[in-house]
Amino acid sequence: MSAVPLVHSRPSPRTRRLPLAPAVAGLVLAAVTLAALSPSVVAPGDPLHIDLVQMHAHPSLRHPFGCDQLGRDVWTRVVHGTRQSLAIGAAATALAVVIGVPLGLLAGLGNRVADTLLSRVFDLMGAFPEILLALVLIAITGRGTGNVVLAIGIAAAPRFARVMRTDTRLVARADHVLAARLLTRSRTRIVLRHILSNAVGALPVLVTLGLGTSILGAAALSFLGFGTQPPTPEWGSMLAESRDDLRIAWWAVFFPGVAVTATVVATTVLGRTAQRRFENRVSA
């Protein structure tokens, strides 16, 4: 370690490594999307098929991920669980966008009172850890997949609102908006065409990163027993179902977790790549 000279100009920063990680991440997400859209293509078996002879069967050629406590094929269940996990994550993120973006726009465009008021609301919600906020909402609405979507979506909304507010403020002060105003364009037209269209630039990055966070949150809530209920395959609830048999059948716990981790890593890598591109474009 000490042999490495510390003060040096960095040799061409990561030109070689940069394309590999996003490419792998893209492949992972493509595979996950395929599994979500048509799971039977990837795993033709029945995820609910119980075969007690195969109970806790080790991973083998016939059962690449082994079998769980009811002899169900773990590979088939992981693949079929993709749809549920991905759909909850996507729906919750969509909800967060639908709530957060208009509120952020409103705060960014509004007068001082509206801005302060809305910003304080975002601060207030941001003070609660998202999972705890979601748990409060579930304590009111009760368990179930729909309620988990609602809880995670609402808890994540301030994240989107805050960024939208800042970007709207920045864009609203730009010269082209002033020009449009001087050309006496209508306010609606200015907001929609000149402000919104530019302020949503950061949204794809936020959505990609937010998707990972939502999937993680949904898995945690399902693991705790508040989301998707057994026997429907979902990554979080699969883990919860098999955890008691961890000592004898680690594979039934390990592989659903790998699926969550791989998906979230992929969204993070893609989101960051997009972020770097976006920031370069803005600063250039």
């Binding site: 370690m1 003070a127 609660f128 850890p129 999972i131 579930i138 304590a139 990972g212 680690w250 969550v260």
Partner: protein
């Protein structure tokens, strides 16, 4: 002389404003919690009197607990009680929420969160300093591991650690053994995702510091490579890291909620999960309020301390 006095006045005004907005947010959080308690379905009278409670019994309980008074009076009492550490009654257990939360449960969670914090504080700077500025396969492996730790579900990390260290290697017990031994695995589990995020941030800070002209000057002056990284690099990286302190504390608390469940530990997390299952809103809200109070307190301290770490920010604060 006058210049110094005005600067000090500006400084104390900034402190007052920071403290004021934190108090305002805490008050707003408490108000929302009060409203949620009263608007949400399910109430304490039904819970306390059971299904068989008749009207007179309900009225008696309502009177006893002050639930027949106007909402604004109840709100005033709620605020007063809160200042005394009284969080109201549980819907389900009929006991005071403060009895359920404070005591052994709180202590158990604080111990776990504290252990995790120690792991984070030790692991993060070491990882960041060792890998800053490196681009080899080892650094790639480390950043891959950090990304995975930050992206993996906490409960899964916990289960994998149990399987590896308790069941396969048999080096650390989960349920038997001393209290300290039982703390190690859950502590590491809570710490890993946080350390994964923070060490990326700290490494970025160290790398940016090492690129600056002062780093060359320090090297030329004869400051050794390790000393340069630790003394100069880490101090510069401390600012972005401290602004994430609020986030880290939040993650620490939510991490313990799930991890207590995985390791079968008693604590606030287990209480919360049970309360959510039973739709016991006062208990869940109390835990959420506690978390928000901790978050606001930590952020308040960070806001006040950051200018001490980086004096350049004092100018910007005005």
């Amino acid at each position: 002389m006058t210049g110094l006095a005005t600067r000090r006045a500006v400084g104390s005004r900034r402190v007052l404003a920071t403290v004021g907005s934190a108090v305002l947010l805490a008050w707003a959080a408490v108000t929302v919690a009060f409203l949620a308690l009263h608007l949400a379905p399910g109430d304490v009278i039904t819970a306390a009197s059971g299904d068989g409670g008749d009207a007179s019994q309900r009225a008696r309980i309502a009177h006893e607990w002050g639930l027949d008074r106007p909402l604004i009076v109840q709100y005033g009492h709620y605020l007063l009680d809160l200042l005394h550490g009284d969080l109201g009654y549980s819907f389900v257990q009929g006991d005071r929420v403060s009895h359920i939360l404070f005591g052994d449960q709180l202590w158990s969670t604080v111990t776990l969160a504290g252990t995790a914090l120690v792991v984070v504080v030790v692991v993060t700077p070491v990882l960041a300093v060792l890998t800053a500025g490196h681009r080899g396969p080892l650094a790639g492996l480390v950043s891959g591991l950090e990304l995975s730790a930050a992206s993996a579900p906490t409960f899964w990390i916990g289960l994998v650690l149990i399987w590896v260290f308790a069941f396969t290697l048999r080096v650390l017990p989960v349920t038997s053994g001393t209290e300290l031994q039982r703390l190690v695995l859950p502590g590491i589990t809570v710490a890993l995702p946080i350390a994964g995020v923070l060490s990326q941030v700290v490494r970025g800070g160290v790398e940016r510091a090492l690129e600056q002209p002062f780093a060359v000057t320090a090297r030329a002056r004869g400051v050794g490579p390790v000393r340069l990284r630790v003394v100069h690099g880490l101090r510069h990286a401390l600012v972005p890291a401290t602004t994430l302190a609020g986030w880290a504390i939040s993650s620490l608390l939510t991490g313990t909620v799930v991890v207590e469940e995985v390791f079968g530990r008693a604590g606030l997390g287990t209480v919360t999960v049970d309360a959510v299952t039973a739709k016991d809103l006062p208990v869940v809200l109390a835990v959420a309020l506690l978390a928000a109070a901790v978050y606001l307190g930590v952020n308040l301290v960070v806001d006040l301390v950051v200018p001490l770490i980086d004096p350049r920010l004092k100018e910007g604060a005005r």
